[in-house]
Amino acid sequence: MREDPSRPGDLIVDEGPGQIPPGALVVAPSAITADSRPLVRIAAEHRGVRWRTVSPWLATAGRLVLGAVFVVAGALKVPDPAAAVRAVRAYQLLPEPLVATVAFGMPVIEIAIGLALVVGVFVRTAAIASAVLLVVFIAAVSSAWARGLQIDCGCFGNGGQVAAGQTAYPAEIIRDVALLLVALALARWPRSRLALGRPAHHLEEYSRAY
């Protein structure tokens, strides 16, 4: 079922490797046979071709932004462990015996997640883990806000101290929600360019599969 298109915009049902003229619409054979309204599917597939070119680069951008934030946030907590302990304790959520372990361990987890995202290995796992952490952070900051605590989130180091009236809960929550959206998008569409764990030829295979 291959037609020979002569004009850009003509329809090809791609049944395997072959020369595809520029501007042709490429659709999977299943789009024709499996659907009772093929033209609708064809139009959707046409948009999909362009999307499949752009989306891996968007995923790369998301990986780098989210990964860099996690690496920086983790690294800033390492030099002053006493401040990290105070920052965790300031939330008044954890029992005292757990405070130090969480304060010292959290930066390691953050840096590990961040590095995985930046380098591009285990992207989906790292994205899901970062989403889980961000949900925890959002919940913790919201609860501090709700309880009327006067603290800094300690997200990027600092010991949680803040001068009276200097809290920034809304900004902290908005930032974390934005990062959470990036993390969820990466968990859903983890394929990206410039990733160590997903060489580019996988992507080409992926697009050719259609």
């Binding site: 006493a82 105070r86 361990g105 390691v108 987890i109 803040v162 764990g197």
Partner: protein, 251 residues
């Protein structure tokens, strides 16, 4: 009776099956590698996690035999009569500008209340504004205050405390030098080689760390924080302080 074409199509089918098998093997191999990589990465993260936790615990640990300055109770420096009806707890960092502002507007009122025997002040030092630029000034200043109270008693501490806030270095500056701290200590009435030695050697470093940690355990997340008989002071002005003390004394 196989013809030429049927033999050829058989060969093609065989080739196709081999290709499919090879692809399946490659997929399985890739899955195996991913799994192995995941396990190795997980183990590495776990080992680093445990190592970092241990190192940081070691870094924050204070010696159980750490020097504790005389004339202090736990991490508190007490100034004023033990029979005073009202207790005022103050959490301050010598590098904190808001503390300087509080001392400037309400310090003399507090001093009068202490002198009148109405208030016993409990000074809880905190040192969380150390930077490399100020050469850990928060810690050095609180350590010096400990040296002063240990050698000169509460009244020398009170003078030293007021002197340090009056002469507080800018927050982004380089902090007072040890020599300047010794000079203020002498001026406050704590003199002698023991004071100078304690200031220069950071003798009470661990005490300072413990005091800062204790403040955090007390739920204090900012300075200055003031409690009047356990009630957090909201109005930090001189009038606000007097009013809160009067209420507490009456209650």
């Amino acid at each position: 009776m196989p013809t030429e074409t049927s033999r050829q199509s058989k060969r093609e089918r065989l080739a196709a099956r081999r290709a499919a098998e090879a692809a399946a093997r490659e997929r399985a191999e890739r899955r195996r590698r991913t799994l192995l990589g995941g396990v190795i990465a997980g183990v590495v993260v776990l080992v680093v996690l445990v190592a970092v936790i241990l190192v940081q615990m070691n870094r924050t640990a204070t010696s159980p035999t750490a020097a504790t300055p005389a004339n202090t109770t736990d991490s508190v420096i007490v100034v004023g009569s033990s029979t005073a009806p009202v207790t005022v707890d103050l959490y301050e960092d010598f590098q904190c500008p808001n503390c300087k502002a509080f001392e400037a507007q309400s310090g003399s009122t507090l001093a009068q209340l202490i002198a009148a025997g109405t208030v016993q002040a409990h000074y809880h030092g905190m040192a969380f504004l150390d930077t490399s630029a100020n050469d850990k000034y928060s810690t050095r200043a609180l350590n010096a205050a400990a040296a002063v109270v240990a050698n000169g008693g509460p009244s020398a501490f009170q003078s030293f405390h007021d002197l340090l806030f009056a002469n507080q270095p800018p927050e982004t500056g380089s902090g007072l030098t040890d020599a300047q701290l010794v000079q203020y200590a002498n001026q406050a009435g704590a003199t002698g080689p023991a004071v100078e030695q304690a200031i220069k050697s950071l003798k009470y470093d661990d005490w300072v760390k413990n005091a800062t940690d204790q403040a955090s355990k007390d739920g204090v997340t900012g300075t200055p924080t003031v409690f009047v008989d356990g009630q957090k002071l909201a109005d930090m002005s001189a009038a606000g302080l007097s009013a809160a003390v009067s209420t507490a004394a009456a209650g």
